[in-house]
């Protein structure tokens, strides 16, 4: 396999530059002294005023951030439990004998396919479906409907990452624990779950990012008191372009970069530990 030519590296750098161009522009304009609202995007000197505006309680950004965080917390927690249990239950299934058992197995397969649908169909379909369902059962729109909806699309991310990890585990590990007399519950708690933890964590991180980022579904199932950050950004951008949106976006970008860097640090640290393990042990 040949190494990349200089042209290939140039091409990659160019694509990455284009990928970051809009982000850099947002950060740059967050320091723009020009208060121009709709059409004026000229740069007129350095200012930190828009960052100060963010801390003004009247602007409602603090409230939006806290509803986003509360929403992401509950959605990730619930979907981590549901998705992990699902992955453990559905990894390495045996073929069933008997009509009833086979019917049960195919019902579970159908459930698995249904659970994966939210990330395969356009978001707007699930959004209108959930909105219609909630209004049919007269569930008031608010944090409860938001969490119920976010769990629906967070479960697949956790399920897929955990199931992928479990499928690579050596079945002999669990069998050995069973042969040594551990009960199924104990095997699950002391062998399977600890081995699945890295996958559960990365699935949760992904689900957290998706929940914090979601706009389309939240847009349809939110209540008057539960404006999340993406909804706040949308309404600000839609109305005009108040310059503190730039500051808000820059802060959100910095948080995303920090999270990713942290994740990278954690995973590279654990990799090194794993590589060192056979030598020291």
């Amino acid at each position: 396999m040949k190494k990349n030519s200089r042209w290939a590296s140039l091409y990659m750098a160019l694509v990455l530059l284009l990928l970051y161009l809009p982000i850099l522009v947002v950060v740059l304009f967050s320091f723009n002294a020009n208060p121009g609202r709709t059409a004026n995007f000229q740069f007129e000197g350095f200012s930190l005023q828009w960052y100060e505006d963010l801390f003004d309680p009247a602007a409602g950004y603090g409230a939006a951030l806290s509803s986003s965080l509360v929403l992401a917390f509950w959605s990730v927690l619930l979907s981590a439990v549901i998705g992990t249990l699902g992955a453990i239950g559905l990894t390495r299934r045996r073929a069933r004998k008997g009509l009833l058992a086979r019917a049960g197995a195919s019902a579970l397969s159908a459930g698995e396919h249904l659970a994966m649908l939210p990330i395969m169909i356009p978001e707007i379909i699930l959004a209108i479906a959930l909105m219609a369902l909630f209004s049919a059962i007269r569930l008031p729109f608010g944090m409860v409907t938001l969490v119920l909806s976010h769990v629906a699309f967070c479960v697949p991310y956790i399920y897929i990452t955990v199931k992928g990890r479990l499928a690579t585990l050596d079945p002999a590990l669990e069998e050995a624990a069973r042969d040594l007399g551990a009960s199924p519950a104990k095997v699950l708690w002391t062998v399977t779950l600890p081995l699945a933890v890295p996958a559960i964590v990365s699935g949760c991180l992904l689900a957290f990012a998706m929940s914090m980022d979601d706009f389309v579904i939240s847009f349809f199932v939110n209540g008057p008191q539960t404006t999340t950050l993406p909804l706040k950004v949308y309404s600000s951008v839609k109305v005009g372009v108040p310059p503190h949106v730039n500051a808000l976006c820059s802060v959100m970008l910095a948080a995303a970069f920090l999270l990713v860097a942290l994740g990278q640090l954690v995973s590279s640290g654990s990799l090194r530990r794993r590589r060192r393990a056979p030598v020291s042990g």
Partner: protein
């Protein structure tokens, strides 16, 4: 020793019950409910009432909606194609980079994707505006006299769409190229194939699963993303997602909005069916 283990296996499957029940209620029932709603007549306020009718689907078969559908499909088609054109070489080169560079590339690619989609689209709004950096650069270089109208055009929507979707092309192609057996390519080169013909007759067919998955993953969401055309598009950019959004929140016609989403659901099903027919696997669609 066999019996208790089989029993525990069955009990273990029951652990998937919460997930199946949750999906059955909030995905299965809600989608069936929407399909049912689409057959009703509009009621007072935000409601549906009998009689049962196919009238909502009849309304969709009018020039206004067919034009919107065509516009959405065309945009989704070009989005998928451009993502392939730009993303394939990127993924290919990335897979051929040194491991260390590869990790960095992957991180640089994923980070923007972790940040809010609205923010990135908003960045394009600044870039493309009449007094924005792109126009300023064009004027500075003397290429144009007056600012071009870049924002609020179909082109702007396409740019934003490709931008939002490109990771979904790069990731499946990358994981495919990375696992590819390079000795096949070397063998074809040894047998006298030119680099180009080796690429076209060996590499492309071997990475076809990644290409297909990428095409589906970029095509399907492009039909439904209403906020993108809302922020970057002109007043005549009416994509299918915008139609659903408008009927639901402006006209508050629940049954008709339901019918519009059923059409979108059917289209999605058709695309996934074609994908499966072409030999695509569902596993390749998720990471």
């Amino acid at each position: 020793m066999r019996r208790p283990r089989e029993g525990s296996g069955r009990r273990r499957e029951l652990m998937a019950l919460p997930m199946s029940l949750y999906a059955a209620l909030f995905v299965g029932v809600s989608l069936l409910y929407v399909i049912g709603l689409s057959l009703f007549t509009r009621g007072d306020g935000f409601a549906a009432q009998p009689p049962l009718t196919m009238g909502n689907y009849g309304r969709i078969a009018s020039p206004l909606y067919l034009r919107s559908l065509l516009q959405s499909l065309r945009l989704a088609f070009w989005t998928a194609l451009l993502c392939l054109g730009i993303g394939y070489p990127f993924a290919y080169f990335m897979a051929k980079s040194r491991p260390r560079a590869r990790t960095w590339m992957m991180m640089l690619l994923i980070v923007p994707f972790w940040t809010n989609a609205l923010i990135r689209i908003y960045g394009w709004k600044i870039l493309l505006s009449a007094s924005g950096p792109v126009n300023a650069a064009l004027q500075f270089l003397g290429l144009v006299q007056r600012p071009l109208k870049l924002l609020y055009t179909d082109g702007a929507v396409l740019v934003g769409m490709v931008y939002a979707m490109i990771p979904f092309m790069v990731l499946p192609v990358y994981s495919n190229v990375e696992r590819m057996d390079w000795s096949m390519v070397e063998a074809s080169r040894d047998l006298g194939a030119s680099p180009l013909s080796a690429f076209l007759t060996v590499t492309v067919p071997m990475t076809l699963p990644g290409i297909l998955a990428g095409l589906v993953l970029t095509f399907i969401p492009s039909i439904g993303l209403f906020f993108l055309s809302d922020l970057l598009g002109g007043s005549n950019t009416m994509l299918w997602g915008n139609m659903v959004h408008n009927e639901l929140l402006k006209s508050r016609d629940l049954p008709f909005a339901a019918a519009l989403s059923v059409v979108l659901l059917a289209l999605t099903g058709l695309v996934i069916l074609l994908y499966r027919r072409a030999g695509g696997k569902t596993e390749n669609m998720v990471f």
